[in-house]
Symmetry: none
Subunit: 207 residues, 4 copies
DNA sequence: CATGAATGAGAGTTCATTCAT
DNA sequence: GATGAATGAACTCTCATTCAT
């Protein structure tokens, strides 16, 4: 695979990304890709044998190119709490942008092909959150008796928010509220009353 | 539409249900249905013009026929807490059965056709949970400052669990743990520290 | 075939006529007829085995029930010239009404099935015209050296007008002018030069 | 659209022409064309999306490739009368060949799709005839008071002959006679009585 | 490498026609 | 007689995939 052809693959991925973001995975045809890329039918097959392979390659690239934010924060010596906040903020931005995301396509893909991609991503995120929470507990920022369970719960919530964003109405307000509640639980002071981020009534005295 | 034909439609729905449960929504063709039902190509069109209409009719029926559990519990005078536990148990059973469920098909359907079905279902469930929580608070079973926000959070968690069950590994253990944590928050005694139980031992020292 | 069933056939013909008038012949399906008649699919087959048979029966009926005008005129002792004028007037009315006529369906039918219906109709009309012209010549109303050829020419013109009315623009003006010219030729005074005049006035004193 | 593919289109048009000539327009399916051309189902769609587009392209080509006769005659300095005779002769040949013509298909097409094709053709022919008649009058070959009306009448006659040729019996004799009568009227000497000639001889000694 | 014409399988859909009730 | 459910053939159209150039 020469350099030229790696550039061509990149071009294909970039154009195809838009198609997947718009149409999801299942209904995307090789013809859609060909049209979007402005290359020949046969040409596409030289690089990608089917939409599945192409899509996975796009996901791989996406992941490689992204992710920097958290790493930077860690490098800059931010506290665990700050980093977790950043992480959740990032997730929120992502899920609110659902029209321009591969989220839908990724779910559709996962529905059809039971491969491990999503699981891996999920587990990795859980691990990161757990580490951050432990860090926060250690530094006194957070209070949490079961960082592992908590981390998984957080990720389930985020998946729930994502799927709701894709299939129902989702507002920034709702997302903020839910994510705020997550953090609130971590910072609840023993013996004190916790409050969920909603204005006014949002009063919870669950301890 | 005679009685005969209503029976036939029922037969079609039942056979088609299996197809949707197995293949999801997008990839199901009229031919798949025809084959599963053992009827003729044209015959199916007498009852359903396309997979979409058929699928929605299956969902409608499913909903009508289900749902009894909660109603019965209410009728039997169970406490709010018992009913909520039952509801969550039901959700758990549902999501663990994911191979035999229309959940995947429903998501696939929702991905393609932005209709309000999922939203309506979601909102209704939120409303039910909220009522149960309020009932529990009133009777002293539960402690919760923001039943509405809490109910939405619960549903996001459940959606998250569902999507994870469909696309990743999901064990009864994980589901139990997460759902247990939900309930634990409602029954946390004021003044005590809540902890989320660890896997395996399922030990919770929160009361 | 009982009386009841003859009535039913009549009902079918009447409803079906509208369908043929609107859609022509080729594209009319048994289903169209069934829908228009409000009878059952199988029921229609008890009376007519296909659209062709039904259509021919409609034509036959139409012809039987129509035609009175000329006969009445003859009976009332009108002159040959008056009757011919009446006949042409009738043809004109017919062709201008083309949306409500079976003309299109009849042509479509004839295109597909080479039966003799149209030919018979045509020949009969030629014969009638020829007789009228001869009558007119005899009575001194008309001047014509070749009534047979003239009659056929008239019918070709009428067929031409009909087909133009069905496939292009046709105005009463154009039809009048052409039909007027036909009559003008019959009444041309010996020794004068005939010229085709402009619209409407029929008679040309063109020099 | 490369040269290769233009040749292919031509090949399709040629084969399809035979199908339309034989079956008319309405009943021709893409499969008929495919079979006649010896290409694949999908292959045809690369060139023509439906029978309508294909048929119109055939008509267009037909028209482009034809028509030379008149132009040549004009170029060769023939008199208006000679050209008109040629034109009518051409029309006659055309209508007598009706088994091998697109006339039927064209009418069927026009019955279904009210586009302007026929009207345009008709108007153009009228215009040509009118010019020729005027030319003949100017040169003393013809006598005609209303070339425009006359030209339209001629075209109605021709349409009538065409439709009769398609749906009834049409012999060269009948066509000759009618067309002869048209010309006879143009050459009638002032002051003489015109008669339409019978039987075959075409030439009328009616003065 | 790249092209795009060509193929053929397969999905959707409509109807003429039959037949048990 | 009358119904209308059921069948299956036929048509339209779209794509994944191949292959000669």
């Amino acid at each position: 695979m020469s350099i030229r052809s790696e550039e061509k693959k990149k071009h294909i991925r970039e154009k195809a990304r838009g198609v997947f973001a718009q149409k999801g995975f299942r209904t995307v045809t090789m013809k859609d890709i060909v049209d979007a890329c402005g290359i020949s039918r046969g040409g596409l097959y030289l690089y990608y044998p089917d939409t599945k392979t192409l899509f996975l390659d796009i996901l791989r690239t996406e992941k490689e190119e992204a992710g920097g934010v958290i790493e930077e924060a860690i490098a800059s010596g931010a506290s665990a709490g700050e980093i977790l906040r950043l992480f959740l903020e990032e997730q929120k931005r992502e899920l609110l942008r659902s029209g321009d995301t591969l989220a839908l396509a990724t779910y559709e893909y996962a529905f059809g092909e039971k491969d491990e991609y999503l699981q891996t991503q999920f587990d990795e995120a859980v691990r990161v959150i757990e580490l951050l929470v432990r860090g926060g507990v250690h530094s006194g920022e957070f209070v949490c008796g079961d960082p592992g369970g908590f981390a998984r719960e957080v990720m389930y919530l985020i998946e729930g928010l994502k799927i709701c964003a894709l299939t129902m109405d989702m507002t920034e307000e709702k997302a903020d509220e839910t994510i705020g509640a997550i953090l609130a639980r971590l910072t609840a002071r023993p013996g004190s009353r916790r409050k969920k981020g909603k204005k006014g009534e949002g009063e919870r005295s669950d301890e």
